[in-house]
């Protein structure tokens, strides 16, 4: 019998057909229209959305004692509280933002624009994570001298091509929404605000320098490293030899080191600072777990799409199987990180930490919280555990879809409770924005995929990947 050894990889090139372009643009247009209609709907019905008196009372009970002891009488996060310690001077807060007109009783409560901004932040962050994790995965493969995924390298590179646009959108949204979404920006911009010791102690990180210089610096650095790795990969196609491989390995090693610090800092600045009084040392790892598992799932979706279109014949079931194993492994990793964060906060029961989960276990968020754990951990864990599941395109695609939706909900839970509060919901606005972002992402990625050959044919490990075998 003997086994067939592939000696040469036959090159192919992805063609970004007019039909695929139409689908991507159509997704964007439909999503944008849906989001626009949804936003108008939210605007006109804002007062009647989500006010459930009993739940509000619960939330206040849960957080009130904490606020009074920790922050004095400062106007803290949940904005819908009906208490009388709101200061007259808060009316003058951030007059630059248009939502001020909506404020009725001196609170800077969420307005329909808050929900729009929060929703934009959610989707720009979520899709940006796909690109970030793909870049990290390329770097890890170089540093670990791993060969199995080389046949998929161009897919990862295509994913990272969203880094340019995604970073720009993310930066624009973070800066544009800073007065609306970030309580600490409101606090530091308002000299008359009552002193908040916790926010003052965080002023070394949460300040305008971080916002306007550090975040762009990190985003641009990553883009530059991405350009270097991509250029190496493209020029490797033309000339053989190890020089490009060695250069990429060095840059990858640097990137991983740099990434560990900068990704943590970005996750604190962009997401954790929404709940500015709260902190968790697990938070950046948690964001990384979301990033990596969703990036792998997107990669799986692209592989299956290309295979269905008749490309990537050379990518064997074995490579796809290992990608499925990675998805499985990082679902478990997410579960582990989630539990680590939850368990410590639940056990110690300190008010300044439990406030985070208290907000997420009230009202409509409770269901989403359960759905999140089910879709991100339990369901993929039980399904992807089976070997046959990891070799079946249908099951893999379903699992990837479940993971992607689950982590969308996960990111939603990171952002919404601290910004929109009980006025949040998943409606036309949220779904439309997500669809529009999916259209943009699809266009960018497929466009990048069509720009280069499908396989990095002169990569030293390309034959290892082509002949990859996971064993019995």
């Amino acid at each position: 019998m003997g086994h067939h050894i592939i000696q040469e990889v036959s090159q192919e090139k992805f063609e970004f057909t007019g039909r695929a372009k139409m689908i991507a643009i159509g997704l964007f247009v439909i999503g944008a229209i849906l989001a626009g209609v949804g936003a108008m709907d939210v605007k006109s019905n804002w007062d009647s959305i989500g006010h459930h008196a009993t739940e509000v009372v619960h939330l206040d009970d849960a957080t009130e004692s904490h606020k009074e002891t920790e922050h004095g009488d400062h106007h803290a996060t949940p904005a819908h509280e009906g208490h009388s310690h709101a200061k007259e001077d808060t009316k003058d807060l951030h007059s630059a933002t248009d939502h001020h007109a909506e404020i009725v009783d001196g609170h800077h409560g969420p307005t329909w624009m808050t929900r729009v901004w929060a929703n934009l932040l959610l989707n720009s962050y979520y899709f940006w994570l796909f690109a970030v994790s793909a870049l990290f995965f390329i770097a890890v493969n170089y540093v670990a001298n791993a060969g199995w995924a080389v046949m998929l390298k161009r897919i990862m590179e295509a994913q990272t091509s969203y880094l340019y646009l995604g970073s720009a959108i993310l930066l624009a949204v973070v800066i544009g929404s800073r007065h609306t979404l970030y309580h600490w920006v409101q606090y530091f911009d308002d000299p008359s605000a009552p002193t908040d010791a916790i926010l003052d102690s965080k002023a070394w990180l949460l300040n305008n320098t971080s916002l306007f210089f550090f975040i762009p610096f990190v985003l641009i650095s990553w883009i530059l490293i991405r350009m270097k790795l991509r250029n190496n990969s493209i020029s490797e196609d033309k000339d053989e030899g190890l020089s490009m491989f060695k250069s990429s390995t060095k840059w990858s090693a640097f990137f991983i080191f740099f990434f560990a610090f900068t990704f943590s800092a970005l996750s604190w600045l962009i997401i954790m600072s929404i709940d500015a009084h709260w902190y968790s040392t697990m938070f950046s790892v948690y964001n990384f777990a979301i990033s990596f598992v969703t990036g792998l799932s997107v990669m799986m979706v692209i592989v299956q799409y290309l295979k269905a279109k008749g490309y990537m014949e050379m990518v064997s079931d074995e490579v796809v199987h290992d990608l499925g194993k990675f998805m499985f492994a990082f679902c478990v990793f997410w579960g582990y990180i989630f539990l680590s964060q939850w368990l410590l906060i639940w056990y110690t029961n300190l008010p300044e930490e439990t406030v985070y989960f208290a907000a997420r276990l009230e009202g409509g968020y409770k269901t989403l919280f359960a759905i999140n754990i089910f879709m991100c951990f339990l369901a993929p864990f039980l399904v992807l555990m089976m070997r046959n599941a990891k070799r079946s395109p249908k099951v893999l695609l379903t699992a990837a879809a479940v993971i992607l939706v689950g982590h969308w909900v996960d990111t939603y839970l990171l952002i919404m409770p601290g910004t929109v509060g009980d006025k949040a919901g998943i409606g036309m606005l949220e779904i439309g924005t997500t669809v529009a972002f999916a259209g943009i992402f699809m266009y960018v990625v497929l466009n990048s995929l069509s720009k280069a050959n499908m396989y990095p044919i002169n990569h030293p490990y390309v034959l290892e990947s082509a002949n990859h075998d996971v064993g019995p």
């Binding site: 003997g2 086994h3 019995p472």
Partner: protein, 202 residues
């Protein structure tokens, strides 16, 4: 649980001994193509694709692993629940003493799942491969545990090819030694003569 069909007692074999795993793999392929029924191969290390070449199905031991893990999970839950809720409820950190403290059971459940799976797999693996304490070790060649690979064909099996055809096939496939009637010997009765004989022939 122990698969009797893998026992070598009371059988004589035609063996081809190889010193190269690729040659063994090719020989298995060639013999299978000619319709020769191969009893088994004995190698000192796992030879890739040999299981496929011999036509073996995938092992079901992973189902055993899952069941062991499930048993471990249930044991962990039962243990934690019966201790903390039923048998000896204690107030820890002001927490209630009911199922709502499920979170604190998870480490116990996790650890016992790992423990049961690990021990279960070791026991299952040894049982399945017949490596049980006190068992007689069957060898067709001493150096099958060192650097030689043995391809064994049961002489009791009716073959399409004649014995001499099979032997010449083995030789042409690069076997360094072909023996038409080899019986297994038992290493637990260390027989110096047997050892000397084996070493001389190989």
């Amino acid at each position: 649980m122990i698969d009797k069909s893998i026992l070598l007692d009371d059988k004589t074999f035609t063996v081809g001994i190889f010193d190269d795993s690729d040659k063994l793999l090719n020989a298995v392929g060639t013999l299978k193509k000619k319709g020769v029924k191969i009893f088994d191969c004995y190698t000192p290390f796992p030879v890739h694709h040999l299981d496929k070449a011999l036509g073996y199905d995938r092992t079901n031991i992973s189902i055993g692993a899952f069941l062991c893990g499930l048993l471990g999970s249930l044991t962990g839950f039962t243990l934690a629940y019966s201790m903390n809720v039923v048998d000896w409820p204690m107030i820890i950190g002001g927490k209630p003493q009911d199922i709502s403290v499920f979170t604190s059971f998870i480490p116990v459940i996790f650890e016992l799942t790992i423990l049961f799976t690990a021990f279960g797999m070791v026991i299952l693996f040894f049982a399945r491969t017949r490596m049980i304490h006190g068992i007689k070790e069957d060898l067709l060649s001493r150096r099958q545990t060192d650097d030689h690979m043995v391809l064994a064909i049961d002489n009791g099996e009716t073959q399409d090819l004649s014995a001499s055809e099979i032997q010449s096939l083995l030789t042409s496939e690069g076997a360094i030694e072909v023996d038409a009637s080899r019986t297994s010997f038992n290493t637990s009765l260390t027989d110096e003569e047997e050892l000397a004989k084996q070493l001389m022939t190989t």
